[in-house]
Symmetry: C2
Subunit: 287 residues, 2 copies
């Protein structure tokens, strides 16, 4: 039996959906019904269910975007940095393994074109300076977990799939007046969820996994794909550069980064080429 | 009426003691009796009392020292970074000013002999790298408060006075096998408390204050003062340097720093010379 914490969020809902499809018994927990920040209550739930695995899909990413985290710093810290520690404590005490939905946003850059591996030190964090508050708290959340032995840390990047949603990257790109043309790895939402669930199903070794599609794309490429498929009438404007973007549109610097998913691929997780995943999503687009 | 949050800690107890001496009406709140992490409950308390000022003396500094924070990262974050945000929220909502006990430990070094002023950017933080987890969380706590208008931020350093206590720097120095010979500003506990209370009593402008005694001392000077007064039989051993200290005795790097208290002095706060304060404490020493 699997417990999903943060089950009402965008990622949490997707986990629940896939567990239903897979016919896997699970308990979806939202904060309204159980204070999962309290390790005692969470331990009790694990015992009551009884659960043999837990997924933490709770987090604070800001509404409508990470800029909002700059205004709600302490809640952002609470959800992204304190909560993983609390959940780790409850799971360790209960003796069950678990998985934490982290983020690739703790990196910036392409790592000289090679992409960042799981063993590369995050470089878009409080410790490496000038990150967004959001990225800083996600990195601290991982730091808090460093001692946890039976824990998967799943790093995804800007989820998208074929269903329009305010948190879907493709929907976001359609909604922005102007875009920042940067290179990124991305995570197809459903592939991400299935890969995370497969970590546990396949009993992969615990640790960090870059759960992103293979390869990387420029925002302008994705815009061209949108234009040639679902948004033929749409023209996309771009910022001159990151400086103009920061001056005009953003408060917190954004992480643009390329992750190397070869560890996940070698472990048997199914993650398709990022362009294929985008093309399929656009083919099946549901507004 | 003043509310003291975290009233059972070393600093909190000292606030309560001085409020009693000053005959100032106050309510001492410990977490056991009120969940002051909950802004709703805290707002209600502020209303019920009714309070016109609040002091946050709660914090997580590790037992027996800051190394313990490396093992309890999420609780350290919760107390030092999230809580100030929550209290700020409750006080702002209730329309009362408040004071936050922060720490000078977010600096390292002497600032080229001049000492750090309140306007100097902290340099021993997550953002400036290689700090202790404790210092990182204290600095984040201040960052969380950046938008709070009616708030004093009191930065103290390694409190001491004439009463032996595990948290009293002089007691600590007597108990350690070997010492690290570094230069520091220090805060006489009772002068610190009185200066903090005077900020509000004198209605000083809100903002950051370095509430430390004037000047700075080397650990070896304090050791010599101990030896020539209350510990004549004691010989003090020193680490070769910070590298040996880190290798042999510590897990987290320590902040050694000199703060410039001239803003506090100019504002009328009474903070004596650090050597005088140590001498008086040793003269009146109570084991």
């Amino acid at each position: 039996m699997i417990i999903v914490v943060g089950a009402t969020g965008f990622i949490g809902q997707a986990f629940v959906r896939h567990l239903c499809v897979r016919n896997e018994e699970h308990v979806a927990v939202s904060r309204r019904y159980l204070d999962y920040y309290d390790p005692d209550r969470l331990s009790q739930l694990i015992l009551d269910v009884p659960a043999d695995f837990l997924i933490n899909a709770a987090g604070f990413a800001g509404q409508p975007n990470v800029d909002a985290c700059e205004d709600e710093k302490h809640e952002c810290l609470y959800a992204n940095s304190v909560l993983p520690g609390r959940i780790g404590q409850a799971c360790e005490r209960s003796g069950i393994p678990w998985g934490h939905v982290s983020s690739g946003c703790i990196y910036a850059g392409t790592n000289r074109g090679r992409g960042f591996q799981e063993t590369d030190l995050p470089n878009f964090t409080f410790r490496s300076n000038h990150c967004s508050f959001y990225s800083g708290t996600k990195a601290l959340g991982e730091e808090v977990l460093a001692g946890n032995r039976e824990c998967y840390v799943w790093r995804g990047r800007m989820p998208f799939n074929h269903v329009s949603h305010p948190k879907n990257l493709l929907t976001k790109l359609l909604s922005y007046e102007r875009l920042l043309d940067v290179r990124n790895s991305l995570s197809h939402l459903d592939e991400f969820i299935m890969a995370c669930l497969d970590c546990w199903k396949l009993r992969l070794p615990f640790g960090i996994y870059h759960v992103t599609n293979s390869g990387s794309v420029q925002t302008s490429e994705v815009a061209a794909m949108l234009q040639s498929t679902i948004a033929p009438m749409r023209t996309f404007q771009f910022f001159e550069d990151e400086d103009e973007f920061m001056r005009v549109a953003a408060r917190a610097p954004r992480s643009s980064c390329v992750l190397d998913n070869s560890k996940a691929i070698a472990a048997g997780l199914r993650l398709t080429d990022v362009r294929d995943a985008i093309a399929t999503s656009l083919r099946d687009w549901t507004a």
